[in-house]
């Protein structure tokens, strides 16, 4: 049995500090965008969120491969929590993206921005992870099938981004050039700090969830050892962490 709780305090403090630094840089250091003004600051929230969420989905797929190869249910728990956290981040990505679209293009949703549309489809794909997983009763089978889902969805992500981008008949003007050259130094620095802060936030939240799951798993085992029935309303859905 391992404890997931170790290092959690340090990690939390680092996250809060980096997040505070990122936000102060975004508001006080980074220059105002000449074209969009203050609204462009949401870029420091939206883009790091999206990158971290996508990386989290990838991580979920990698953990799933490890789970299938080793049969160790711990990797399944990692995969589950990664995808779970990334779906939550995904909601934030869609909301912030929608706000940004309203502010800069005047509509809450634009279909000709391929990155946004691709992200929506990826989000919808991963949102089916929950009904899929919880519809399978046998715990061991549930873990295996969830891993297969995570791998399949992982293969789907790049393909989907490619197909959506190709479906774009007119090329929408990119607000930010993807090459580093398009971003002034101060903006780039702020962006990188924000990215680091988001990454830390994701890691901390994943660790918190794993710790909570492992604690409730231990509690369940202790209850079983004492022959006390679990109270109603305990979650049967999440993977057990040992």
């Amino acid at each position: 049995m391992t404890s997931f709780g170790s290092g959690l305090r340090t990690l939390s403090i680092a996250t809060v500090a980096t997040m505070a630094l990122a936000l102060s840089l975004a508001f006080f250091y980074a220059p105002l965008d000449a074209d969009q003004g203050f609204v462009q600051k949401i870029f420091y929230l939206h883009v790091p969120l999206a990158i971290v969420a996508l990386l989290g989905f990838v991580a979920g797929g990698v953990f799933a491969v490890l789970h299938l190869r080793s049969g160790d249910s711990r990797w399944d728990a990692y995969s589950y929590v990664s995808i779970h956290m990334s779906v939550i981040f995904g909601v934030a990505v869609l909301v912030t993206g929608s706000i940004w679209a309203k502010a800069s293009w005047g509509h809450w949703w634009v279909w000709d921005e391929p990155t946004l549309v691709s992200f929506l489809i990826v989000f919808l794909m991963y949102a089916t992870y929950y009904p899929f997983r919880y519809a399978i009763e046998d715990r061991e089978r549930q873990a295996r099938y969830a891993s297969v889902f995570a791998i399949t969805a992982g293969a789907f992500v790049p393909l989907n981004f490619m197909a959506v981008r190709m479906a774009e008949s007119l090329v929408h003007p990119r607000v930010f050039a993807t090459a580093n050259g398009g971003l002034p130094g101060e903006m780039m620095l702020t962006f990188l700090v924000s990215l680091a802060a988001m990454g830390l936030l994701w890691t901390t939240l994943v660790k918190f969830e794993l710790t909570a799951k492992s604690a409730s798993g231990q509690l369940k085992r202790l209850r079983r050892a004492l022959d006390a029935p679990a109270p109603d309303g305990t979650s049967r859905v999440a993977p057990e962490v040992s």
Partner: protein, 226 residues
Amino acid sequence: MTPSAAAFRAILGKDLRTELRTLQSLPAMALFAVTTFVIFRFALDRTALSGSLASGVLWATLLFAAILGINRLFVAEREEGGFDAIRLAPIDRTALFAAKAAALLVYLLVLEAIVVPVFAIFFLDSAAALPPLLLVLALADLGFAATGTLISSMAVHSRARDLLAPLVLLPLVVPLMIAATGASEPLLEMGGPSYERFGTWLGVLGLYDLIFLLVGYAVFDFLLED
């Protein structure tokens, strides 16, 4: 013949023979598709379709008809203990994946052989688009067969199997649908087929097929373990 190839042939033959004798899936799929065309005729209030509207109606209908078949793909295996038999048999499990995907591919090709001419009679003013459309249909069917078999084999073991397969499958086939409609749209254009970006879209379809056949091949073993 290697044992795997023999198993593949046996399972595929069994499936096609069962379907031929019971006619459980295909007539339902075809009937569903034709009725959906009629519904589209009134929902869109058009008697003739072309371009993106035609390709959208065709592909949406085919997708939902395919899901009917995908839902039923493994039902017999589950109910009659076919999964246990495969597990006991000294054969490569991926033979089951290959055979089931092949069976689904045959279903879809037969379905389209019935339904696409009906679509042309209902809505198109010439049949000139049909020969190049065959290529798009075949490649898209291969993709449906790969993802459909994979998802169906998992969904059949769940509590909500009829619900789950379409739920997971729909987002998964979005890239396939983008490419298939993208390739079909210029083919179904008013003044006869044009081939704008035809090759590119066929390439995307081929890539999709390749990736998900490989994924299915790689992970299918884990789905049968017990």
